[in-house]
């Protein structure tokens, strides 16, 4: 299973790299879709159907909206890319990459093994959730009962995002 996840993750990285460098914006959007749908397969392999359903639906809606936007505006990038032979930008990016790699290696060595997390809260959640909440789906029990504050925060974030969109995308004022 870990080999399959490694292959899919590699495909996702290739898709993301292609999305940056594609000349045609429509193919860049489709390449972005590779990342999302690859994540769906990863969730299914790791046995998380709740997350997989949410991810596949949200990815589809986002892709439809992005394709509609690209078809309506232009299919080519308007601005020119920065000069790749500038010495300052090259050295700066190499420096930042080195520093990031150093911290990445430090943090990876202190992580747990893959699939063996040692969270203290996971045990009581799995054992007592069904009796305490009465719901057959354990994820819903945790999301709406034990972690109710988190869910309320998520819903509020969505409302705030809609308010922001409505404020920005208004040319004429409402009377």
């Amino acid at each position: 299973m870990e080999i399959a996840i490694a292959i899919i993750t590699g495909l996702m990285i290739i898709g993301a790299l292609y999305a940056i460098h594609a000349k045609d914006l429509l193919s860049a959007v489709i390449a972005c879709g590779i990342v999302g749908y690859g994540l769906v397969i990863c969730f299914l392999l790791l046995k998380a159907p709740d997350l997989a359903i949410v991810q596949i639906v949200v990815e589809t809606i986002t892709l439809i909206i992005m394709v509609a936007v690209v078809l309506d505006s232009s299919r080519e990038e308007k601005f020119s890319k920065p000069d790749p032979q500038g010495y300052v930008s090259m050295t700066l990016s190499a420096l930042i990459l080195g520093v990031m790699l150093y911290f990445f290696i430090i943090s990876v060595s202190s992580l747990d093994e893959f699939g063996k997390s040692t969270l203290r809260m996971a045990g009581p959640y799995i054992e007592g959730a069904t009796e305490k909440t009465g719901s057959a789906n354990l994820v819903t029990g945790v999301v709406f009962d034990f972690r109710g504050y988190d869910t309320l925060g998520e819903a509020t974030v969505l409302v705030t995002a809609v308010l922001g969109v409505l404020t920005i995308l208004r040319i004429k004022g409402k009377k």
Binding site: P49, D50, I53, V54, V57, V58, T60, I61, I64, I65, A68, V69, D72, T130, T133, G134, S135, A136, N137, V139, T140, G141, V143, F144, D145, G148, Y149, T151, L152, E154, A155, T156, L158, V159, A161, V162, V165, L166, L169, R170, I171, K172
Partner: protein, 145 residues
């Protein structure tokens, strides 16, 4: 906004109702099977977006729909908040208290408050996604004038 061809319209007529029913199924069975308020809400919004993209709509109708969806969204999040507050009035006074009777495990009407939270969060998510889509379409129509 213009509609699409006859083939797309007919297929949409056949499919949109089924997508809507599937979204309601995912929301209502959220405490029994995988899924729940968030996933079902986005599926519901998807059926509306499918209809608008296929059939097109004029500007006045879009503005009316946007007013309605913002109203539904705000009322739904308010109801979730009131349901959570109702735990403060009863029993041991805990926010997000599950004070309704639990029922038997695995039946459709069970698990106390969880189905109610699922339904109202589903309405809220569906209305939010639809509102964002409508705002983008209205912005495009306004740019043309």
């Amino acid at each position: 906004m213009k509609g699409m061809t006859t083939i797309v319209k007919k297929t949409t007529q056949l499919i949109a109702g089924m997508v809507f029913m599937y979204g309601i199924y995912v929301i209502i069975h959220g405490h029994l099977t995988p899924g729940g308020g968030f996933a079902g809400g986005v599926i519901l919004a998807g059926s509306f977006i499918l209809l608008i993209l296929a059939f097109g709509s004029d500007f006045v109708k879009l503005m009316k729909e946007e007013t309605g969806s913002t109203l539904y969204e705000n009322l739904a999040i308010l109801t979730v908040l009131l349901l959570a507050l109702s735990g403060l009035l009863l029993g041991t006074r805990i926010f997000f208290m599950n004070w309704m009777p639990k029922g038997t495990l695995g039946q459709l009407i069970s698990a106390g408050m969880l189905p109610l939270y699922n339904i109202f969060v589903g309405i809220e998510v569906a209305a939010s996604i639809l509102t964002i889509f409508l705002a983008l379409v209205i912005f495009k129509e306004e740019m043309k004038e």
